[in-house]
Protein backbone atom coordinates (compact mmCIF):
# COMPACT_ATOMS: atom_id res chain seq x y z
CA UNK A 1 0.00 0.00 0.00
CA UNK A 2 2.93 2.28 0.71
CA UNK A 3 4.39 1.79 -2.75
CA UNK A 4 1.13 2.54 -4.50
CA UNK A 5 0.44 5.63 -2.43
CA UNK A 6 3.48 7.33 -3.90
CA UNK A 7 1.95 6.73 -7.34
CA UNK A 8 -1.28 8.36 -6.29
CA UNK A 9 -1.74 11.75 -7.91
CA UNK A 10 -0.76 14.65 -5.69
CA UNK A 11 -3.43 17.18 -4.77
CA UNK A 12 -2.03 19.97 -6.87
CA UNK A 13 -2.01 18.01 -10.12
CA UNK A 14 -5.47 16.44 -9.74
CA UNK A 15 -7.33 19.41 -8.49
CA UNK A 16 -6.10 22.42 -10.42
CA UNK A 17 -6.72 21.50 -14.05
CA UNK A 18 -10.36 20.50 -14.39
CA UNK A 19 -10.60 17.28 -16.37
CA UNK A 20 -13.67 16.73 -18.48
CA UNK A 21 -15.96 13.72 -18.07
CA UNK A 22 -14.71 10.65 -16.28
CA UNK A 23 -16.09 7.26 -15.37
CA UNK A 24 -19.13 6.72 -13.16
CA UNK A 25 -17.56 6.96 -9.72
CA UNK A 26 -15.16 9.69 -10.66
CA UNK A 27 -17.86 11.95 -12.02
CA UNK A 28 -17.98 13.82 -8.71
CA UNK A 29 -14.23 13.67 -8.29
CA UNK A 30 -13.95 16.74 -10.44
CA UNK A 31 -13.89 19.45 -7.77
CA UNK A 32 -15.15 22.15 -10.13
CA UNK A 33 -18.25 20.10 -10.89
CA UNK A 34 -18.67 19.27 -7.19
CA UNK A 35 -18.54 22.97 -6.31
CA UNK A 36 -21.18 23.82 -8.92
CA UNK A 37 -23.58 21.04 -7.85
CA UNK A 38 -22.99 21.70 -4.14
CA UNK A 39 -23.57 25.44 -4.48
CA UNK A 40 -26.92 24.72 -6.12
CA UNK A 41 -27.92 22.10 -3.51
CA UNK A 42 -26.80 24.11 -0.47
CA UNK A 43 -29.83 26.42 -0.05
CA UNK A 44 -32.23 23.46 -0.30
CA UNK A 45 -30.28 21.36 2.18
CA UNK A 46 -30.00 24.25 4.64
CA UNK A 47 -33.64 25.27 4.15
CA UNK A 48 -35.08 21.79 4.74
CA UNK A 49 -32.71 21.28 7.69
CA UNK A 50 -33.84 24.50 9.40
CA UNK A 51 -37.54 24.10 8.62
CA UNK A 52 -37.87 20.44 9.62
CA UNK A 53 -35.70 20.80 12.74
CA UNK A 54 -37.54 23.88 13.99
CA UNK A 55 -40.99 22.44 13.30
CA UNK A 56 -40.07 19.06 14.78
CA UNK A 57 -38.39 20.45 17.90
CA UNK A 58 -41.17 22.98 18.53
CA UNK A 59 -43.75 20.23 18.04
CA UNK A 60 -41.92 17.95 20.42
CA UNK A 61 -41.35 20.65 23.02
CA UNK A 62 -44.81 22.26 23.08
CA UNK A 63 -47.49 20.15 21.38
CA UNK A 64 -46.52 16.50 21.74
CA UNK A 65 -48.19 14.82 24.75
CA UNK A 66 -46.23 14.01 27.90
CA UNK A 67 -45.53 10.35 28.58
CA UNK A 68 -47.80 8.64 31.12
CA UNK A 69 -44.91 7.71 33.39
CA UNK A 70 -41.96 9.88 32.28
CA UNK A 71 -43.93 13.12 32.21
CA UNK A 72 -42.38 15.93 30.20
CA UNK A 73 -38.89 14.44 30.45
CA UNK A 74 -39.84 12.33 27.42
CA UNK A 75 -39.39 15.49 25.31
CA UNK A 76 -35.62 14.98 25.57
CA UNK A 77 -36.18 11.96 23.33
CA UNK A 78 -36.93 14.26 20.36
CA UNK A 79 -33.32 15.45 20.49
CA UNK A 80 -31.60 12.37 21.85
CA UNK A 81 -32.90 9.71 19.44
CA UNK A 82 -32.31 11.60 16.15
CA UNK A 83 -28.85 12.63 17.42
CA UNK A 84 -28.08 8.97 18.13
CA UNK A 85 -29.23 7.95 14.63
CA UNK A 86 -27.07 10.63 13.04
CA UNK A 87 -24.08 9.66 15.18
CA UNK A 88 -24.19 6.15 13.70
CA UNK A 89 -25.12 7.34 10.20
CA UNK A 90 -22.19 9.77 10.25
CA UNK A 91 -19.80 6.97 11.10
CA UNK A 92 -21.17 4.82 8.27
CA UNK A 93 -20.66 7.77 5.90
CA UNK A 94 -17.11 8.13 7.24
CA UNK A 95 -16.49 4.42 6.61
CA UNK A 96 -17.91 4.68 3.06
CA UNK A 97 -15.58 7.61 2.31
CA UNK A 98 -12.69 5.60 3.72
CA UNK A 99 -13.45 2.68 1.38
CA UNK A 100 -13.61 5.09 -1.59
CA UNK A 101 -10.33 6.60 -0.44
CA UNK A 102 -8.43 3.34 0.09
CA UNK A 103 -9.64 1.50 -3.01
CA UNK A 104 -10.28 4.18 -5.64
CA UNK A 105 -8.06 6.93 -4.20
CA UNK A 106 -11.06 9.19 -4.72
CA UNK A 107 -9.75 12.73 -4.09
CA UNK A 108 -13.01 14.13 -2.70
CA UNK A 109 -13.51 11.16 -0.37
CA UNK A 110 -10.44 12.14 1.69
CA UNK A 111 -11.66 15.69 2.11
CA UNK A 112 -15.21 14.48 2.87
CA UNK A 113 -13.96 12.08 5.55
CA UNK A 114 -12.01 14.88 7.23
CA UNK A 115 -15.15 17.10 7.25
CA UNK A 116 -17.60 14.37 8.34
CA UNK A 117 -15.52 13.66 11.47
CA UNK A 118 -16.24 16.87 13.44
CA UNK A 119 -19.93 16.94 12.42
CA UNK A 120 -20.43 13.31 13.46
CA UNK A 121 -18.58 13.97 16.73
CA UNK A 122 -20.95 16.89 17.36
CA UNK A 123 -24.04 14.71 16.94
CA UNK A 124 -22.46 12.00 19.14
CA UNK A 125 -21.72 14.55 21.87
CA UNK A 126 -25.31 15.81 21.65
CA UNK A 127 -26.56 12.22 21.96
CA UNK A 128 -24.35 11.52 25.00
CA UNK A 129 -25.17 14.74 26.87
CA UNK A 130 -28.93 14.63 26.22
CA UNK A 131 -28.91 10.95 27.19
CA UNK A 132 -27.27 11.86 30.46
CA UNK A 133 -29.81 14.67 31.04
CA UNK A 134 -32.59 12.15 30.38
CA UNK A 135 -31.05 9.35 32.43
CA UNK A 136 -30.67 11.33 35.65
CA UNK A 137 -34.37 12.07 36.22
CA UNK A 138 -35.66 8.78 34.73
CA UNK A 139 -33.19 6.04 35.68
CA UNK A 140 -31.70 7.82 38.65
CA UNK A 141 -28.16 7.96 37.23
CA UNK A 142 -26.27 10.33 34.92
CA UNK A 143 -24.21 7.48 33.53
CA UNK A 144 -23.96 3.70 33.79
CA UNK A 145 -21.41 1.44 32.13
CA UNK A 146 -23.85 -0.74 30.23
CA UNK A 147 -23.15 -2.03 26.73
CA UNK A 148 -25.16 0.63 24.87
CA UNK A 149 -23.74 3.67 26.67
CA UNK A 150 -20.20 2.35 26.59
CA UNK A 151 -20.30 1.52 22.87
CA UNK A 152 -21.59 5.02 22.04
CA UNK A 153 -18.79 6.52 24.16
CA UNK A 154 -16.34 4.40 22.14
CA UNK A 155 -17.92 5.83 18.97
CA UNK A 156 -17.27 9.35 20.27
CA UNK A 157 -13.61 8.50 20.96
CA UNK A 158 -13.30 6.95 17.47
CA UNK A 159 -14.54 10.23 15.98
CA UNK A 160 -12.07 12.22 18.11
CA UNK A 161 -9.24 9.86 17.13
CA UNK A 162 -10.10 10.24 13.45
CA UNK A 163 -10.24 14.04 13.73
CA UNK A 164 -6.80 14.09 15.36
CA UNK A 165 -5.24 11.49 13.06
CA UNK A 166 -6.17 13.04 9.70
CA UNK A 167 -4.67 16.33 10.84
CA UNK A 168 -1.57 14.86 12.51
CA UNK A 169 0.71 14.39 9.49
CA UNK A 170 2.73 16.95 7.55
CA UNK A 171 1.85 15.06 4.39
CA UNK A 172 -1.97 15.18 4.28
CA UNK A 173 -2.18 12.01 2.15
CA UNK A 174 -0.57 9.97 4.93
CA UNK A 175 -3.09 11.41 7.39
CA UNK A 176 -6.00 10.50 5.10
CA UNK A 177 -4.73 6.90 4.73
CA UNK A 178 -4.25 6.49 8.48
CA UNK A 179 -7.64 8.06 9.17
CA UNK A 180 -9.35 5.80 6.64
CA UNK A 181 -7.87 2.68 8.24
CA UNK A 182 -8.92 3.84 11.72
CA UNK A 183 -12.44 4.61 10.44
CA UNK A 184 -12.81 1.16 8.89
CA UNK A 185 -11.45 -0.68 11.93
CA UNK A 186 -13.83 1.31 14.12
CA UNK A 187 -16.80 0.48 11.89
CA UNK A 188 -17.26 -2.85 13.75
CA UNK A 189 -18.54 -0.70 16.61
CA UNK A 190 -21.62 0.45 14.66
CA UNK A 191 -23.44 -2.94 14.65
CA UNK A 192 -22.37 -3.40 18.27
CA UNK A 193 -24.15 -0.13 19.15
CA UNK A 194 -27.22 -1.15 17.21
CA UNK A 195 -27.59 -4.62 18.70
CA UNK A 196 -26.10 -4.01 22.17
CA UNK A 197 -29.57 -3.65 23.66
CA UNK A 198 -30.64 -7.00 22.19
CA UNK A 199 -27.48 -9.03 22.80
CA UNK A 200 -26.87 -8.07 26.41
CA UNK A 201 -29.16 -6.98 29.19
CA UNK A 202 -28.58 -3.27 29.51
CA UNK A 203 -30.15 -0.47 31.51
CA UNK A 204 -30.87 1.25 28.20
CA UNK A 205 -34.18 0.18 26.71
CA UNK A 206 -34.38 -1.59 23.31
CA UNK A 207 -35.37 0.27 20.13
CA UNK A 208 -38.95 1.52 19.86
CA UNK A 209 -38.80 1.91 16.10
CA UNK A 210 -37.61 -1.08 14.08
CA UNK A 211 -37.73 -2.02 10.43
CA UNK A 212 -39.55 -5.26 11.14
CA UNK A 213 -42.22 -4.45 13.72
CA UNK A 214 -44.75 -1.75 14.55
CA UNK A 215 -43.30 1.11 16.61
CA UNK A 216 -44.04 0.89 20.34
CA UNK A 217 -44.70 4.60 20.49
CA UNK A 218 -47.91 6.61 20.28
CA UNK A 219 -48.39 8.31 16.90
CA UNK A 220 -48.57 11.75 18.55
CA UNK A 221 -44.92 11.28 19.63
CA UNK A 222 -43.76 9.40 16.53
CA UNK A 223 -44.49 12.19 14.03
CA UNK A 224 -42.45 14.95 15.73
CA UNK A 225 -39.65 12.42 16.25
CA UNK A 226 -39.53 11.60 12.53
CA UNK A 227 -39.72 15.32 11.68
CA UNK A 228 -36.67 16.08 13.83
CA UNK A 229 -34.89 13.06 12.35
CA UNK A 230 -35.43 14.45 8.84
CA UNK A 231 -34.28 17.88 10.00
CA UNK A 232 -31.12 16.50 11.62
CA UNK A 233 -30.35 14.35 8.57
CA UNK A 234 -30.52 17.42 6.32
CA UNK A 235 -28.56 19.46 8.87
CA UNK A 236 -25.83 16.83 8.74
CA UNK A 237 -25.78 16.96 4.92
CA UNK A 238 -25.90 20.77 4.81
CA UNK A 239 -23.03 21.10 7.31
CA UNK A 240 -20.85 18.50 5.59
CA UNK A 241 -21.51 19.98 2.14
CA UNK A 242 -20.70 23.52 3.33
CA UNK A 243 -17.51 22.38 5.06
CA UNK A 244 -16.53 20.26 2.06
CA UNK A 245 -17.01 23.21 -0.31
CA UNK A 246 -14.74 25.28 1.91
CA UNK A 247 -12.19 22.45 2.03
CA UNK A 248 -12.17 22.06 -1.77
CA UNK A 249 -11.68 25.80 -2.25
CA UNK A 250 -8.92 25.90 0.36
CA UNK A 251 -7.16 22.99 -1.34
CA UNK A 252 -7.45 24.61 -4.74
CA UNK A 253 -6.06 27.81 -3.26
CA UNK A 254 -3.06 25.98 -1.80
CA UNK A 255 -2.48 24.32 -5.19
CA UNK A 256 -2.61 27.67 -7.00
CA UNK A 257 -0.23 29.30 -4.53
CA UNK A 258 2.20 26.37 -4.75
CA UNK A 259 2.08 26.35 -8.55
CA UNK A 260 2.65 30.10 -8.57
CA UNK A 261 5.56 29.85 -6.13
CA UNK A 262 7.13 27.06 -8.21
CA UNK A 263 6.57 28.89 -11.52
CA UNK A 264 7.75 32.33 -10.40
Amino acid sequence: MEASSTLAPTPATTLVPPTAGGRSLHRFANPGRFLRIAARAQPWLTGVALAASLVGLGWGLFWAPADWQQGDAVRIMFVHVPAAWLASFGYLALAACSVASLIWRHPLADLAAAEIGPVGAGFTALCLVTGSLWGKPMWGAWWVWDARLTSVLVLFFLYLGHIALVRAFDDPVRGYRAGAILALVGAVNVPIIKFSVDWWNTLHQPASITLTGAPTMAAAMLWPLLMVAIGFQFAFLALVVARLRAAVIERRMRGLLMARAAGA
Binding site: G122, V129, T130, K136, R243, R245, A246, I249
Partner: protein, 45 residues
Protein backbone atom coordinates in the same frame (compact mmCIF):
# COMPACT_ATOMS: atom_id res chain seq x y z
CA UNK B 1 -43.64 21.25 32.71
CA UNK B 2 -41.94 18.59 34.84
CA UNK B 3 -38.14 18.12 34.76
CA UNK B 4 -37.76 21.58 33.19
CA UNK B 5 -34.01 22.06 33.91
CA UNK B 6 -33.14 18.80 32.14
CA UNK B 7 -35.35 19.60 29.14
CA UNK B 8 -34.01 23.16 28.91
CA UNK B 9 -30.46 21.79 29.06
CA UNK B 10 -31.06 19.31 26.24
CA UNK B 11 -32.77 21.80 23.91
CA UNK B 12 -30.32 24.55 24.86
CA UNK B 13 -27.34 22.39 23.96
CA UNK B 14 -29.01 21.55 20.63
CA UNK B 15 -29.35 25.26 19.89
CA UNK B 16 -25.76 26.03 20.90
CA UNK B 17 -24.36 23.21 18.76
CA UNK B 18 -26.53 24.14 15.75
CA UNK B 19 -25.52 27.80 15.90
CA UNK B 20 -21.87 26.94 16.51
CA UNK B 21 -21.53 24.43 13.69
CA UNK B 22 -23.69 26.46 11.30
CA UNK B 23 -21.89 29.76 11.82
CA UNK B 24 -18.41 28.23 11.71
CA UNK B 25 -19.21 26.46 8.42
CA UNK B 26 -20.73 29.61 6.87
CA UNK B 27 -17.82 31.82 7.94
CA UNK B 28 -15.21 29.33 6.78
CA UNK B 29 -16.90 28.98 3.38
CA UNK B 30 -17.31 32.70 2.74
CA UNK B 31 -13.73 33.41 3.86
CA UNK B 32 -12.36 30.69 1.57
CA UNK B 33 -14.35 32.02 -1.40
CA UNK B 34 -13.16 35.58 -0.81
CA UNK B 35 -9.53 34.54 -0.54
CA UNK B 36 -9.73 32.43 -3.69
CA UNK B 37 -11.36 35.31 -5.58
CA UNK B 38 -8.53 37.59 -4.42
CA UNK B 39 -5.87 35.19 -5.74
CA UNK B 40 -7.64 34.12 -8.90
CA UNK B 41 -10.49 36.37 -10.11
CA UNK B 42 -11.35 33.79 -12.81
CA UNK B 43 -12.28 31.26 -10.10
CA UNK B 44 -15.01 33.39 -8.54
CA UNK B 45 -17.77 31.65 -10.43
Amino acid sequence: MTHLPYIAGAYGLTLVLAVGFGLSAAIRLSRARKRLAAIDPRAGR
